[in-house]
Each structure stands twice: as structure tokens, then as C-alpha cells.
């Protein structure tokens, strides 16, 4: 992949940091452990070094590159169905060489259209924005930023990736089977997803979907347990929870959400497998389909929705919170200012995490659920706007009177805040049960979540890649290509999703192959064409990033040790950290991670591992006490 793995020089005793005070016991333990590691990892076979690696940095790269491949596929699928929506009368004959029987007489097969939207959603939500985002950066940054040699269990971490890989293979293979992939929407509501008679995609395609998702959940749990354990147990000397960078807080809470909610999806998937294959009736009742009355009685499709959204709602926070954490970090670093309201930022993350478990039924206001429950969930849902608002205000306050460097990562972070505002605000409409009667399942919903969790999380992902690329590969990405990539994507996202709100307010239903059959939905043909053009251009623009990424791995400008003048621990490692991250002892931590532009200091950043005794001129009164 690259030459990032320099020969590990893990001999203990070489201190990167002027050791203040006595070396604590855990560090010594790590030292010995390292010595032991040296024998194991020195002359590794490439297979163990690059493929079945247990090094968190290598696993992070595996997640990232797999996620990128999935993102290209997910984007490609969306381009296909945008072609259909923009030009419902147009001929698709030219796609026949690629899609084969799914093009019938020059037309896209309507059932395949549903398969496209289903797979686009599944791929983007789970494989790109959960595994690709959280899998990459939780793995990469947690040990580096808390000051650990690796994850608590490198082996489990490796398994986490390979379960994800297996899950990817199963999901990918479902695209090529005779009856097509799962087509019941990414939310796979039964009975549609349970009955192959209802739609061909609910045959083997759905079976593979469920198997793939079960493997995916195993991967998530293995990863999540590791992240939580590492953050709790393996922080370096002095790294209290109140000195953790916001990235780590975000990854930590994300992992907890995943551990608590993914098993519920697993149970839902398991019950659905039972209904599909073993004749049970958890979700099926009173069904007459394909000329036959089924024997299933007493099940409830609404029960599935409760189970699904008990994961599904925390899932959107699993997607967005890592992005929030990374954006906080990048904004502070590049505004050269402490993040405003560090404790409020942690508090709002915790608030969002707690609330995310009690809002799921706002996806179900009009599904026949008791209206009283609707009232309760409306109340809880709209409350979540408060911590989200706090985060936005704090990001704005962080920019205020800063000294902003527009790196590509910074641009994407600012873009993230903008998209998060735009998409988040419409959540206030959708969270209101009364207004949701009209807006439910329209393009207003599609526009809302694509801005607030889709595009925002993607922007967080881009910010993360641009910012930590030097740490991953020891080289810099090309900044100018980064600028072009940003402005194209930023404008593209707004041009796609702002007009989509209009289409939604007009009541256009989502997951429609065409609206031509309805007079009520006839007025926006031009707008849909416009959206399609913007979406396809924005998708093609992503290849600038792909090019930049792979080009820079090999030919990018060589990075210095701390290219962004950042305060966090990962920048105290060598340019190309080997297995074990620090060649010598792990640095101890003395201060919070946001001492940027501190009055009285000569430099505009003081890394976390610099003790107060060395910064007499800039210490605040209480810090001075600690120093003495």
C-alpha cells in the first residue's frame, strides 16, 4: 500500500518527552510488552503486516479503502436512479451491456429501481458511513490520541475488519444473483421484505442482505467493545477523561451507542429470518398474496419497525457523532483557538447519545402506532434540537476571532457545520408529528437526512482524511485539488438537496420509479432533471479526491512530524509511526488538548505533553498551582 510502515524501533528507554516526575507503572508495563512485541513483529511476512494485520493503523487503512470502494459503488447506484428520475422517458438502452436483463426495452426495470435505492441506502449508511467512517477513525485515532500502543485487543480488532470484509463480500454478491438484491428499501419493512412473492428482491437477495448484516453487526460489536475498552483502560499517564480530545469523546460515545443498539437490529434480523424461512409469524398476519392466503396470524409489522428504528435512530448518531468530533478538532486546530465550551461540547454529545435512544418512533408517526406515543416521541425528538444547537453555536464561537487557515480539512469542516445547520433545522419540521402527516416519506425527508447525516458525515469523513492523511501515510495530500474537490462538492450538495426540499413540500413520494402517473406530482420534471445533473456532476467530482488520495500516498509532499501545529498526542509520534506508535516511552499528558494561542506563550500551540512547569509565562492561575 505504501511505505508508511517504517522499521519498528521499539526499544524502550528513548524518551520523546522530558519525563517529568516518576514514570508511572503502566508505562513501564507497556515498555516491557513492547520488547516482547519486537520479536513478534520485526520481520513479519507481508501477509501479516498488510493483510491480517493487528496494528490499529493498518486496520484503519483497510476500513478506509474498503469504505471508499463502497462509496464509489453507492454513488454509482445513485447516479443510475437519478438518471431514471431526471429522464423518466429517456432510453437506457446504452446501459444494457452493464445491467443486462434489468433494462427491458430501453427502460429500467421498476423492481430493479427499488433494488438500486435499497442498496444505495444500505451501502451508504452501513458500509460507508458506519464502517468506513467510524471504523477508520476510531481505529486510527483512539490509540494515537489517548496514548496507547494499540487497541486493547489487536486480534479482535483484526477480526472486526475481516467480519466487515466478509459481510461486504456477501452484500456485494447479492448484486449479481438472478432475482436481484434486496429491494424493500434500506429499512426492509416486512411483509415486503419477508415475502418473495411480493417482490423478487425478497428472495435470495434478502437472505444475503440479512446474512451480510448479521456479519456486519458482529464486526461492529467487536470494534465497539475494543474502542470502549481502549478509551477506558489504556489512556496514558495524565490523560483523564476531561483531557480527552473531542474526537475521542465522540468515538467513545459512538461505540457505546453501537454496542447498545446493534444487537437489537440483530434480533430484528433474526426474527425476520425465522419468519422468512421457518414459518413463524413475528411480523406477518392476515396476508393474501399471489393468489394464496398465508397461514401466518398474529404478527405485527409495526413491531419490526420498533425494533428496526431502535437501532436505526441511534444509527444516524453513530454516523454523525464521529464527524462532529473530528470537525471540532479540525476547527480548533485551524482557527488556532481552543474549542469553545469544551465541557458543553462533551455534555451535548452525552445528551445527544442519551436522547438518541428515546426518539426512534418519530419515524413511525403515521404507521398506525398509538397517537399518544406520537405525542411522547414528538416531545423527546424536538428536545434533541437543544444539544444540537449548542454544538452549532459553539463551533461558530470557535471561529469567532480566530486566525483561520483554510486547509482542505478546514474547508470541509466549515462545510460540515453549514450542512448540519441546513439539514438539522428541517428536522424540527419532521419531528413535529402534525407536520409529519404531510411530510412523511416525501422528498422533504430525503433532502433532510441527506443533508444532516449523509452529506454532513461525508464532509466529516473528508475533513478527517485530509487532516490525518499525513499521519496515515507520511505524506500530504495536494491542497489545491482539495480546494477544488471541496468547492465542487459543497456547491453540488446544496444544488442537489435544496431543490429537493421544494419537491418534498409539494408532496412527492420517495421511492417512486416515476411520478408521471399523478397529476399532483407533475410540476417538477425540470427540477428533477436539474437535481440529477447536479448529483451526477457532484458524484464525478469525487474522483478528484480518489485521484488525490492514491496519488498522494506515493507522490505527495513529504509530511513533517506535526504539519498542522496541533496539540494532540498523535503528532508526537514519528512521521511514520511503527507498530507500537511511539519508539520510546509513551508521552505523559499534562493539559487539555486545546491550548491554542494561549496568551503569554511564544508559540500559538502547546501540545498536551508539555508540562505546566515548562510554560510558566502562559499558565493560568490554577495551572500555576499545579505546576508548583
Amino acid at each position: 500500500m505504501s511505505d508508511m510502515a517504517a522499521k519498528p524501533n521499539l526499544s524502550p528507554g528513548v524518551q520523546t518527552q522530558g519525563g517529568i516526575g516518576t514514570a508511572a507503572v503502566p508505562a513501564t508495563e507497556h515498555g516491557e510488552h513492547l520488547h516482547h512485541d519486537e520479536h513478534e513483529h520485526h520481520d513479519q511476512h507481508w501477509l501479516w503486516k498488510y493483510v491480517f494485520s493487528q496494528d490499529h493503523k493498518q486496520i484503519a487503512k483497510q476500513f478506509l479503502i474498503t469504505g471508499m470502494l463502497w462509496a464509489i459503488l453507492g454513488g454509482l447506484l445513485s447516479s443510475l436512479f437519478r438518471l431514471q428520475l431526471g429522464w423518466p422517458e429517456g432510453s437506457m438502452e446504452w446501459l444494457k451491456p452493464f445491467l443486462g436483463k434489468w433494462i427491458e426495452a430501453g427502460k429500467l426495470n421498476p423492481e430493479f429501481y427499488l433494488a438500486l435505492v435499497t442498496m444505495h441506502g444500505t451501502i451508504m449508511v452501513f458500509f460507508v458511513l458506519t464502517a468506513g467512517l467510524s471504523g477508520t477513525f476510531s481505529n486510527f485515532l483512539i490509540p494515537l490520541q489517548v496514548g496507547a500502543r494499540d487497541m486493547a485487543s489487536g486480534f479482535m480488532n483484526m477480526l472486526s475488519y475481516w467480519f466487515f470484509f466478509l459481510s461486504s463480500i456477501v452484500m456485494l454478491s447479492s448484486l449479481f444473483i438472478e432475482t436481484g438484491p434486496a429491494s424493500a428499501g434500506w429499512t426492509i419493512y416486512p411483509p415486503l421484505s419477508a415475502l418473495p412473492q411480493a417482490i423478487p428482491g425478497s428472495g435470495s437477495g434478502m437472505t444475503l442482505w440479512l446474512v451480510s448484516m448479521a456479519l456486519f453487526i458482529v464486526s461492529q460489536l467487536l470494534g465497539g467493545v475494543n474502542y470502549v475498552t481502549t478509551v477506558i483502560n489504556m489512556r496514558t499517564r495524565g490523560m483523564s477523561m476531561s483531557k480527552l480530545p473531542l474526537t475521542i469523546w465522540a468515538f467513545f460515545l459512538t461505540a457505546i451507542l453501537g454496542i447498545l443498539s446493534f444487537p437489537v437490529l440483530f434480533s430484528a434480523a433474526l426474527l425476520l429470518i425465522f419468519d422468512r424461512s421457518f414459518g413463524t409469524s413475528f411480523f406477518l398476519s392476515d396476508i393474501y398474496i399471489a393468489g394464496q392466503a398465508l397461514s401466518n396470524q398474529g404478527g405485527s409489522p409495526v413491531l419490526f419497525q420498533h425494533l428496526f428504528w431502535f437501532l436505526g435512530h441511534p444509527e444516524v448518531y453513530i454516523v454523525i457523532m464521529p464527524a462532529m468530533g473530528m470537525v471540532s478538532e479540525v476547527l480548533a486546530t485551524n482557527a488556532r483557538k481552543p474549542i469553545f465550551g469544551y465541557r458543553a461540547m462533551i455534555g451535548s454529545l452525552i445528551g445527544i447519545s442519551l436522547l438518541s435512544f428515546v426518539v426512534w418512533a418519530h419515524h413511525m408517526f403515521v404507521t398506525g402506532m398509538n397517537p399518544f406515543l406520537g405525542s411522547v416521541f414528538m416531545f423527546l425528538t424536538l428536545i434533541i434540537a437543544v444539544p444540537s444547537g449548542v454544538k452549532v453555536f459553539n463551533w461558530l464561537a470557535t471561529l469567532w476571532r480566530g486566525n483561520i487557515r483554510f486547509t482542505a480539512a478546514m474547508l470541509f469542516s466549515i462545510g460540515f457545520v453549514s450542512l448540519f445547520i441546513s439539514g438539522g433545522l428541517t428536522g424540527i419540521i419532521l419531528g413535529n408529528a402534525t407536520l409529519d402527516i404531510q411530510m412523511h416519506n416525501t422528498y422533504f425527508v430525503v433532502a433532510h437526512f441527506h443533508l444532516v447525516m449523509g452529506s454532513s458525515a461525508f464532509f466529516g469523513l473528508f475533513a478527517g482524511v485530509y487532516h490525518w492523511f499525513p499521519k496515515m501515510f507520511g505524506r500530504m495530500m495536494d491542497e489545491k485539488l482539495g480546494y477544488i474537490h471541496f468547492w465542487l462538492t459543497f456547491a453540488g450538495v446544496y444544488l442537489v438537496f435544496m431543490p429537493m426540499h421544494y419537491v418534498g413540500i409539494a408532496g412527492f413520494p420517495r421511492r417512486y420509479y416515476a411520478w408521471t402517473g399523478f397529476d399532483a406530482f407533475s410540476q417538477f420534471a425540470d427540477m428533477n432533471k436539474f437535481i440529477s445533473v447536479a448529483a451526477i456532476i457532484a458524484f464525478l467530482g469525487q474522483f478528484i479526491f480518489i485521484f488525490n488520495f492514491f496519488y498522494s500516498i506515493y507522490r505527495g509532499r513529504r509530511a513533517t512530524q506535526n504539519p498542522w501545529n496541533s496539540t494532540t498526542l498523535e503528532w508526537t509520534t514519528p512521521v511514520n509511526p511503527g507498530h507500537g506508535n511511539w519508539p520510546g516511552e509513551i508521552p505523559a499528558v499534562y493539559r487539555w488538548p486545546y491550548d491554542y494561542s494561549k496568551p503569554g506563550s511564544d508559540v500559538d500551540f502547546i501540545p498536551q505533553n508539555v508540562p505546566y512547569s515548562k510554560t510558566q509565562s502562559s499558565n493560568l492561575p490554577y495551572e500555576q498551582e499545579i505546576a508548583e
Binding site: 411483509p191 469553545f340 424536538l382 453555536f393 461558530l396 471561529l399 421544494y502 486545546y594
Partner: protein, 357 residues
């Protein structure tokens, strides 16, 4: 041949881009800007931030106004008007928040761009303003929640006693419509009795089912509460009538309902819109299979008198399909009783029009 030419042009374009990219790198190495951290591009990006705010904001405002009429389906129900008001009030509130926060974001980005020798202001927290911007959104949200909650309980509350009852049954891929007939009672239906003729699954051993009738179009009277009872016989569907601001899922095994009061007849709406072809439409709004996008029904709002006449002219299902009734009589009694569904479906439906007309 054309395909080959296009391919060749694309490849050449890519090569040109790659060359330009290399050239750009070489020039920046030559001019010494390659390794500089902060150069011209910083102020270019800062200016672009401002440009994006101004032009993006202007484009958004323009396109919003331009499309405003297209994005408002005409309203034809009492609660629809209430929802519409609430929608635009909420839009105004979030519009203000949107304008303020987005402006600050881009203006700050421009204003506080990197300047040689300037130092950022070390400002880590301020409890007072943090409390303010926690409390103010909380108050605004509380107001919105309260308004939404009041409207929600009203809209989803029990239907008035004098409501007209229509039953819709979703199936792949059309809507079946049933009215209770002269006795104003919807009879028992049973999914096991469904076949090509008896699509609704009428159980004609139930007396109140005998006068129920089915239609292709949905007729409802203007100015009278209409209670729609909703069923599905296969997968999930959703009854979505954008003009009435009505939406409710059709769930197999679990009847649902929604009531509303139409305020304009189809003819009045045609006149108002100047569109003689106008019809109220019912769309399926929950993914249900390949022809989901074509699962449509027409709703006709009549003057109450016309509705009465139409209603009286309908012929019951049993009368139209005597063979279903005949077949039933041949079946052993045990099968019939076994197939009876819970009494819940036997609900008493009030007169199609209250005496006040």
C-alpha cells in the same frame, strides 16, 4: 465509432488534466510556494466563503420564490389549513435561525482568515452565553412542541359520531374501496375468503356484509367529517392524499384509521385552479413492490346532495356477485364460523349523512 471517439476524447481529457496537475506542482515547487503553509490560496478561499454566502443565498432565495407556487399543493381539508399555517410558521422560525447561523459561519470564516502576526483570541468558555443559547432554543422548541401536540391530538382524536365511513384496502397494486351500505355497518371481511371475484374477502355469512358495496372511485361529501378505515391484504401500503393532508399506513393484520373534513368539491377545485382535468388523488406512500409508483386512486368530493344520490344508486357486492353468496351456502357451517374474524370489524357506522342535511 462514435463511442470510440467519445472514449478517446475522455482519455485525452484525463491526460490533459494530469499534465496540468503536474505542471501546477512543478510551478509551485519552482516558485517556492509548494512547501509554504499559508499562501495566496488562504485569502482566495476566504473570499470564496463570502461569495458562496452571497451568491448561494441569492440563488436559494430566488429559486425558492420562483418555485413557491409549485410547491404548495392546494388544500381541501379543515385540518390541512391548520397544518399549512403551522408549517409556514415553523419554516419562518427555522428560516431565521438558518439565515443567522449561516451568515455568521461564512462571515466569520472570511473576517477571521489568517493574517500574518495576528493572534487568535484565547476564549475557552463563557457560562453566561452558553446558558443563553441553550435556554432560548429550548423555549422556542417548547412552543413548537406545544402547538404541534395540540394539533396532533385533535387530528388523531376520535372521529365525530356523524362521520361518513369509507374503507380502503391496499393491495399490490391498487386500492379497493368499500362502503357500509344501507345498514351503515361494515360487515366482516376475512382474508381467507379472498379470491379473484371476492377481492375484499367479504364474509357473506355476516348479515351486515350483505349490503356493503365496493367502488372504483372514492366518493366523499364536502363539509362532512369522513372517517377512512384502512386495511392491507398483503404488504404495507400508505394512504396518502396530499390535497387533504392525510397520511396513514395500511398494515396487514392491523386496521388503521384517519378522519378529515373536505372543504371543497372536485368541481369547485377545478374552477378555482382553472384546470378542468383536476382530480384529488390518493397515492401509495410506502414502498410496496415494483408498481408502487403506479398505485393510485381518485377521490371525488361531491356536494352532500350529489353524494346522497350517488350512494343510493350503488348496488351491493352480494347482489352483483350472486355466485359468491351461492358458494357460501354450499360450504359446511363449521368452515364459515371458523373463518369469522374478531368483532372489532363489526363496528357500527353512522348514517352517511347526518340528519342536519
Amino acid at each position: 465509432m462514435t463511442a470510440l471517439t467519445i472514449l478517446l476524447v475522455l482519455v485525452l481529457l484525463l491526460v490533459v488534466f494530469a499534465m496540468l496537475f503536474r505542471l501546477q506542482i512543478f510551478t509551485s515547487i519552482f516558485s517556492g510556494t509548494f512547501t509554504r503553509d499559508i499562501g495566496m490560496s488562504n485569502s482566495v478561499n476566504a473570499i470564496l466563503m463570502l461569495v458562496f454566502l452571497v451568491f448561494g443565498g441569492a440563488w436559494f432565495a430566488y429559486s425558492f420564490v420562483e418555485n413557491f407556487n409549485k410547491m404548495n399543493p392546494p388544500i381541501a381539508s379543515i385540518h390541512g389549513h391548520e397544518m399549512e399555517r403551522m408549517f409556514w410558521i415553523t419554516m419562518a422560525v427555522i428560516g431565521v435561525a438558518f439565515a443567522i447561523t449561516q451568515s455568521l459561519l461564512f462571515v466569520y470564516s472570511y473576517k477571521y482568515q489568517y493574517k500574518e502576526g495576528r493572534r487568535a483570541y484565547f476564549f475557552s468558555h463563557n457560562n453566561k452565553i452558553e446558558v443563553i443559547w441553550t435556554v432560548i432554543p429550548a423555549i422556542v422548541m417548547a412552543a413548537l412542541i406545544f402547538a404541534g401536540w395540540k394539533a396532533w391530538t385533535r387530528i388523531t382524536g376520535p372521529a365525530p359520531k356523524d362521520s361518513v365511513v369509507v374503507e380502503l384496502m391496499g393491495k399490490q397494486f391498487n386500492w379497493l374501496v368499500r362502503y357500509p351500505g344501507r345498514d351503515m355497518k361494515l360487515g366482516v371481511v376475512n382474508y381467507r375468503m379472498i379470491d379473484a371475484v371476492n377481492e375484499f374477502g367479504f364474509d357473506l355469512s355476516d348479515k351486515s356484509a350483505l349490503d356493503d358495496f365496493t367502488t372504483n372511485e372514492i366518493h366523499v361529501p364536502k363539509g362532512v367529517p369522513v372517517l377512512i378505515k384502512i386495511r392491507s391484504r398483503d404488504v404495507l401500503h400508505a394512504v396518502y392524499m396530499p390535497h387533504f393532508r392525510v397520511q396513514m399506513y395500511a398494515v396487514p393484520g392491523m386496521p388503521t384509521r384517519f378522519w378529515f373534513t373536505p372543504t371543497m368539491t372536485t368541481d369547485e377545485m377545478r374552477a378555482k385552479l382553472g384546470n378542468p382535468g383536476f382530480n384529488y388523488e390518493l397515492a401509495c406512500n410506502q414502498i410496496c413492490g415494483g408498481s408502487h409508483f403506479a398505485m393510485k386512486a381518485t377521490v371525488i368530493v361531491d356536494e352532500p346532495d350529489d353524494y346522497q344520490n350517488w350512494y343510493a344508486a350503488q348496488e351491493s357486492f352480494a347482489k352483483k356477485n350472486p355466485e359468491v353468496l351461492a358458494a357460501l351456502k354450499q360450504k359446511p357451517a363449521s368452515m364459515v364460523s371458523q373463518a369469522t374474524t374478531p368483532a372489532e370489524t363489526k363496528e357500527v357506522a353512522p348514517a352517511p349523512l347526518a340528519a342536519s342535511y
